[in-house]
């Protein structure tokens, strides 16, 4: 049985156990009329039985899935010839990949393939089959024995509710730990692959190298030795586009927040808020489309009319549209920051005869500055991590330039480029994507932590 079928079977069994647990508890009590004698409700007995039936089995399934592929691979390699076992890491990976493909292939393909590999493929199918049987068997046994165990403890004074609540509490705790597991998973996945990458490309070359061309490094088999993994152009491109985006988003977002909170009528606000929500809710892929098909050609045509040479995938187009995407974000965070400034300060300034704008510029904004800086940092983090707009509207070529009319590429674009399409997993090319991912994660994390710190400090100031 496949894992998904098994899950359904387990869920069905759990449902059945619920009913069975209720029946047993009634029986233990001595019939439906005697139910009052039980310390807990029959429903609680039922739920407890269902939990005992389902939870261990599901946890077992999860663990099994986690280790299945590694164990099967090891078993397969063991059963193969000595030459295969002595292959080095990457060659073995390739070999096994072929075997895996063959095990899915039709008879025609098998006839033409290397007989050794065909043998291995058959072996693999055999192991898989055995594993599937073993898995199903163990899961069912686990379900039944757990139910049997818990039923055996049923008694009139069995405190089913207490046990049930303990289990539920554990489950709730486990759910809240998922957030931590996710973070750990992210850190592990980018870190491990990055370490592997840095064993073939030295970190300083990656961090300070001026040339980025992962394709070239693949062709010549001089992996990483030609400085083709120098990420500086990507960092520069990311920074350039981020700066353009900020130049767009910060003034517009901030002025929007100021106008809405200080000047606008209730009516205008009731239209402007949904407008900002629309801008915030539009998927980035739509912005990317808009950037690539409308804004970029417009900028190119305008530039050409002015006698400038503009790349068709200019950094300016991607940056501006990214800025538009971030406007609502900046505006809503700035709005919070401005609204957190006590009215007393505003009145103090107005009461001295300052005009509205003098009050805003000289009192409100300086007072809200930490909050606005926090907003700015979060917006930068957004821009740095934004993917679709740049994938669709920025270039692929790693130019090291500060000219916004040129085409540049970014960290996220390269991650997508390196990892989409069919390729072997553990090549330096794909590993480089994870090294870039590590950079991205660390940068955005640092920005977020800094932003939260600034904002929290600032909140304390006025609460």
């Amino acid at each position: 049985m496949t894992s998904s079928t098994l899950i359904f079977v387990v869920l069905f069994l759990a449902l059945f156990s619920y009913w069975y647990g209720i029946q047993r508890s009634i029986k233990v009590a001595g019939g439906a009329t005697q139910v009052k004698k039980l310390v807990s409700l029959p429903r609680q007995f039922g739920l407890l039985t269902a939990m005992w039936c389902g939870l261990p089995a599901l946890i077992f399934l999860l663990v099994w899935t986690f280790f299945e592929s590694t164990v099967i691979e090891a078993l397969l390699v063991q059963s193969l010839s000595v030459e295969v076992q002595q292959l080095d890491q990457s060659a073995l990976g390739l070999y096994l990949n072929d075997v895996r493909l063959l095990s899915d292939s039709s008879a025609e393909v098998l006839q033409k393939a290397d007989p050794d590999k065909v043998f291995a493929a058959e072996k693999l199918l055999e192991i898989n089959r055995d594993a599937a049987w073993l898995k199903s068997g163990l899961v069912l046994i686990l379900c039944l024995s757990c139910v049997a165990f818990i039923i055996s403890r049923f008694a009139v004074d069995f405190r089913a509710r207490v046990y049930l609540e303990k289990i539920i509490m554990r489950v709730l705790l486990a759910c809240s730990i998922i957030a931590i597991l996710t973070t750990v998973g992210i850190v592990m996945s980018v870190l491990f692959e990055s370490i592997q990458f840095f064993s073939s490309v030295p970190p300083w070359e990656f961090l300070f190298g001026l040339e980025w061309s992962p394709q070239m490094a693949l062709r010549a088999d001089q992996v990483g030795s030609s400085g083709a993994f120098g990420a500086v152009p990507l960092f520069a491109g990311t920074i350039l586009i981020t700066i353009i985006a900020m130049c767009m988003a910060v003034p517009v977002g901030l002025m929007t927040a100021i106008y809405l909170s200080q000047y606008a009528s209730e009516r205008l606000r009731s239209y402007a808020k949904p407008m900002l929500e629309v801008l915030a809710g539009i998927p980035t892929v739509v912005y990317g489309f808009f950037a690539a098909l409308t804004v970029a050609p417009f900028i190119r045509d305008t530039g050409e009319a002015l006698g400038l040479s503009v790349a068709s995938e200019s950094a300016l187009a991607a940056g501006l549209v990214m800025g538009v995407m971030i406007i609502p974000f900046v505006s809503s965070l700035s709005d919070d920051a401005i609204n957190a400034v006590p009215t007393a300060l505003k009145e103090g300034s107005l009461g001295m005869g300052a005009t509205q704008s003098e009050t805003i510029k000289q009192v409100l904004l300086p007072a809200a500055l930490p909050g606005i800086v926090g907003a700015f940092l979060l917006a930068v983090s957004r821009a740095v991590g934004e993917t679709m707009i740049v994938v669709m509207a920025a270039g692929m070529a790693a130019n090291l330039t500060a000219n916004p009319l040129d085409s540049v590429t970014t960290v996220t674009v390269q991650i997508v480029k390196l990892l989409t399409g069919d390729q072997e997993f553990n090549t330096p090319k794909t590993l480089a994507a994870f090294a870039l991912g590590l950079m991205l994660f660390v940068t955005t994390l640092a920005l977020n932590v800094a932003a939260l710190k600034v904002v929290r400090k600032y909140r304390e100031q006025y609460d």
Partner: protein, 422 residues
């Protein structure tokens, strides 16, 4: 009048001018926002409109068994006939003035490559037409379609129609052989390399399965986590750590979740690439922080008096949480979940990482079939060079925005309806 009053009066004019400028700047910023929304929406709607129509052409097809290369009596062989030849001869018969290999080829290129399947389907559905000459409507090629729809002339960049072809098309139009019809196939076909045969059904189905997985996983997990953190967790450093984690996760770029999916879910757990299952798991991890944060806020808003009252009646903490607090917090939790789902619905980048970007023609039948989703479909089409895909992309965007609008309006409605009930 005192000296300082005079000075203030002197300064007034300049200051009020500055005030006006500042105010105007603010108004401009908002106006700019409105303008952008307007531009974006009109741009996409204008670009999308052509995609909802498709030009069809009437062709007199002569279903001769010998041309088809099938035995006229054995109906089971009907689908296997040589419809290409039949189609070619039908077209050349219709345009006798076209001669020469080159011209013939470019004439044949004006008909969609799906045409032979359309006439096959016609014959299979109407076997009585075998041996007869009947009119069958087939789609024109996407280049012709774009040429007919857009107000363009031959020679414009992106127009792949020659002068000669243009005269043929004109003849068809003049003799009313061409008809523009509502393009229902856009919603009933999967992806295709040919724009005229590409539809969003595959992507919509993939989106449905992916969202299903996301909802089934993220809703219970999110609610459970929020319930634990709000109602049961001891206030200590461990809980603080979880909280900081959740807040940080909410700001991690989505593409990083894609890397997690690729490295852990596909390469370690070995779940199948390109499937709604993996996509759903990745999106779950991504939307969980949103749902947890919203759910916590909603649970926190339930007044303590309700908990105390229930406790007073002898309910355990767990019973209070599940049967009193949770139902009251549910509207807020649902609102947060919808918002999280709307985010997930528009997400593209992490799904590229886990291979949902593959070209998939078949409509997926389950959560473990290779699939793509609407945003990724939009990305793929936007990348295609054919002119007609621009309209298709825009139309797909409209469909996606429609769903998002419905979800967000519903969330806004929920928020308004259940706002501050106590």
């Amino acid at each position: 009048m005192s000296d300082s009053t005079q000075k203030v009066i002197n300064s007034l004019k300049k200051r009020h001018r500055k005030e006006k400028v500042f105010r105007a700047a603010g108004a401009t910023a908002i106006g700019f926002g409105f303008l952008l929304v307007f531009l974006l929406i009109t741009d996409i709607i204008t670009k999308a409109t052509p995609a909802f129509k498709q030009n069809w052409i009437a062709i007199e097809v002569d279903f001769q068994p010998d041309l088809l290369g099938i035995d006229g009596l054995d109906l089971t062989r009907l689908p296997k006939g040589d419809y290409r030849t039949v189609l070619r001869s039908a077209i050349f018969e219709m345009m006798p003035e076209v001669s020469g290999r080159r011209d013939k080829r470019s004439l044949f290129g004006l008909i969609s490559s799906s045409a032979e399947f359309e006439i096959r389907n016609h014959l299979v559905a109407n076997p009585a037409d075998l041996g007869k000459k009947v009119t069958v409507w087939v789609k024109v090629d996407d280049d012709v379609d774009s040429y007919l729809k857009d107000d363009v002339v031959v020679g414009e960049p992106g127009i792949r129609i020659s002068e000669k072809q243009a005269t043929w098309i004109k003849k068809w139009v003049d003799s009313e052989l061409i008809e523009s019809r509502w393009n229902s196939e856009f919603f009933s076909l999967g992806d295709s390399r040919e724009p005229e045969s590409a539809g969003v059904k595959g992507a919509l189905t993939g989106t449905f399965y992916t969202m299903l997985v996301t909802l089934v996983l993220s809703f219970p997990l999110g609610v459970a986590a929020a319930l634990y953190l709000e109602e049961f967790a001891p206030k200590n450093r461990w809980t603080d750590f979880i909280e900081v984690n959740i807040n940080n996760l909410a700001a991690v770029p989505s593409i990083v979740f894609g890397l997690l999916g690729l490295a852990v879910i596909i390469n370690i757990f070995g779940l199948p690439r390109s499937t709604p299952l993996v996509g759903g798991i990745v999106l779950t991890l991504m939307t969980l922080p949103t749902i947890i944060i919203a759910s916590r806020a909603s649970i926190k808003a339930v007044p303590p008096s309700i908990r105390e009252a229930a406790m007073g009646l002898g309910a355990s903490r767990m019973q209070v949480a599940f049967s009193h607090v949770l139902p009251l917090a549910m509207p807020g939790i649902i609102t947060g979940t919808i918002i999280g789902m709307a985010q997930a619905l528009g997400e593209t980048a992490p799904l590229l990482m886990i291979g949902m970007v593959a070209f998939i023609v078949d409509v997926p039948g389950g959560i473990t079939d290779p699939a793509t989703v609407m945003p990724v479909q939009i990305y793929l089409w936007a990348d295609s060079p054919e002119r007609a895909f621009v309209a298709k992309t825009s139309a797909a965007i409209l469909v996606l925005l429609g769903f998002l609008l419905i979800m967000n309006s519903f969330a806004a409605f929920m928020r308004k309806k259940f706002e501050k009930r106590w």
